[in-house]
């Protein structure tokens, strides 16, 4: 398939919500080592809230749906990840506008806008050891492969996000709570980069399913 519509978006959100719920303890465990042991709990709380009003949210166009997800996350997640993921979806919404569906390029633009939003809100640079280190290579890979179609581009994005997540594991963190740990944060996988990888994998699988 070559367009991304509201049903695909819904599958994506549901898949992401399911996986966050399944991997809640894993994400929390990662956050125990270099944070405050709540990342899985936070993400699961937010996406449970999203799931609770999915029918209502999905009734809107792509932009409205995405905006609804972003607002819900901002109102329920808290912590660092709430405003960051919330902003991601709000920027997706602005980029989608009132479209009913998005072409591969339009999806790429939206993802790029989401990434930019996260970077502006959190002021993290590459190598600061945050979700940006998974999101940024994910978006880059999507753009590089988008000529091959949405499915291929999303597969490349997911692979790149995972690689980004793993690449920064040896690093010391410079943003977020993990930065308090200094050297002790090295050789721990970042929880936010992990949830962002799950986001790209969910997007890939939701689109592949159709």
């Amino acid at each position: 398939m070559s367009t991304f519509d509201s049903p695909a978006f819904r599958r994506f959100v549901e898949t992401f919500a399911d996986r966050l719920h399944e991997r809640r303890d894993e994400l929390t465990q990662l956050d125990s080592a270099i944070g405050d042991a709540d990342h899985g709990i936070n993400m699961d709380r937010g996406f449970s809230a999203v799931r609770g009003k999915l029918d209502e949210l999905a009734a809107a166009d792509l932009g409205g749906f995405s905006k609804g997800v972003g607002m819900t996350l901002i109102s329920t997640v808290g912590g660092a990840s709430g405003p960051l993921y919330g902003t991601f979806f709000l920027r997706l919404a602005t980029s989608f506008g009132d479209r009913a569906s998005a072409t591969p390029d339009e999806l790429g633009e939206a993802l790029r806008a989401g990434l930019d939003g996260v970077r502006q809100r959190g002021k993290a640079e590459l190598d600061d050891k945050t979700m940006v280190d998974a999101m940024s290579p994910g978006v880059d890979a999507y753009e590089a492969a988008s000529a091959d179609g949405m499915g291929a581009a999303l597969a490349a994005a997911a692979t790149a996000a995972a690689a980004g997540r793993d690449r920064i594991t040896p690093l010391v963190a410079r943003k977020g709570r993990a930065s308090y740990l200094g050297e002790r944060a090295a050789n721990h996988q970042d929880p936010g980069a992990t949830s962002t990888t799950i986001l790209f994998e969910s997007l890939r699988d939701a689109v592949a399913e159709s």
């Binding site: 808290g78 809100r121 200094g182």
Partner: protein, 332 residues
């Protein structure tokens, strides 16, 4: 996990319901989990609000009342509250003189308070923010998210709350809050970890002969793990960096605050205070005021933190001013 709790997801709600039941003269709890001073809004008074993750009780909800906070936003355990809460709090306490947000320096708190301030300003309420970042265990550099806001927050809330109570305007209380921030330093340590209720197991494992030095207030591991030491050695490990950082020097007048992390009994805090008093005396630093107790905690973590605030006459006067909250009370 051993806690006096029912379902983990209900813990914060039930504790707030308990607070509301215990202190109806002082506070009311409004949706979404905002503790508001019973008589808010007060016309013409600057509103002072704060908030953060739960699990630090009595901070912040226990500091709502006459002479201190007008409202406190309670997030999930160790998770910054969401902007809806700070917006609701800001609207509930605005008496036309503007609202100060006292924010602890954590990425999540900063971003959520920022979003709320934008929303409040869009609704025509004047909002200022001061960020507390007093934890000397964290290097304040480009390579960190900056110092955490810890014990200094309690002192700021008391002093700034008194200034607002006596009618100082938004610019003045904002400047005062910044002055407290500029003059306060803290450091903490842990003997044990704590367990986030929804996580169900301790955030970190620690041996019977070990301790964490330089912890914050979220059960996070500290800067360094060391062999368990005596109270005097621990006090030195915390207080020396504080004294050196500011630096506090001979002739300075300070407020010394020895804080328990939630699982540490008062007898131990007084043992620590005894050494703090000696060390300050040795440096010629005069402890003009003090506070000893568990005021900013990390669930059931055992450990303590030390905070020193360099006092000026106005701060001392405002520290002494009447306050009537669930956790701090004097002259009322």
């Amino acid at each position: 996990m051993k806690k006096l709790m029912n379902a983990a997801d209900d813990m914060v709600d039930e504790a707030l319901a308990g607070m509301a039941a215990a202190h109806p003269d002082l506070i009311r709890v409004i949706e979404p989990n905002v503790i508001v001073r019973a008589d808010a809004p007060r016309q013409g008074k600057v509103g002072i609000i704060s908030g953060g993750g739960s699990g630090h009780e009595p901070m912040h909800g226990g500091f709502v009342g006459m002479g201190m906070l007008d409202a406190a936003c309670a997030g999930a355990v160790f998770t910054s509250p969401v902007p809806d809460q700070m917006l609701a709090a800001t609207k509930a306490v605005d008496g036309g003189a503007g609202v100060l947000h006292i924010v602890k320096n954590y990425t999540g708190d900063i971003m959520n308070f920022e979003l709320a301030a934008e929303l409040a300003q869009a609704e025509g309420i004047e909002v200022t923010s001061v960020i507390l970042a007093d934890d000397v265990a964290v290097k304040d550099s480009l390579y960190t998210a900056g110092r955490r806001g810890v014990g200094g927050t309690v002192l700021a809330e008391k002093i700034v709350g008194a200034a607002a109570e006596e009618g100082q305007d938004l610019a003045a209380v904002t400047a005062l809050c910044q002055r407290v921030q500029d003059n306060v330093r803290s450091m903490g340590m842990a003997l044990t970890s704590c367990t986030v209720p929804a996580a169900g197991k301790p955030t970190f494992e620690i041996g019977d002969d070990e301790m964490e030095i330089g912890v914050g207030i979220h059960g996070e591991p500290g800067r360094e793990r060391r062999k368990l030491a005596s109270a005097d050695e621990i006090t030195e490990a915390l207080l020396t960096p504080i004294l050196d950082d500011m630096p506090f020097s001979s002739g300075d007048k300070v407020l010394a605050f020895v804080n328990g992390m939630g699982g540490t009994p008062l007898i131990e805090l007084y043992v620590i205070y005894n050494k703090v008093a000696q060390m300050c005396a040795d440096r010629g630093v005069t402890i003009e005021r003090n506070l000893v107790g568990s005021y900013i905690t990390s669930l059931e973590m055992a450990g303590c933190s030390i905070t020193l605030l360099k006092l000026d006459d106005e701060m001392t006067r405002l520290w002494d001013a009447p306050v009537h909250t669930a956790a701090l009370r004097r002259g009322a």
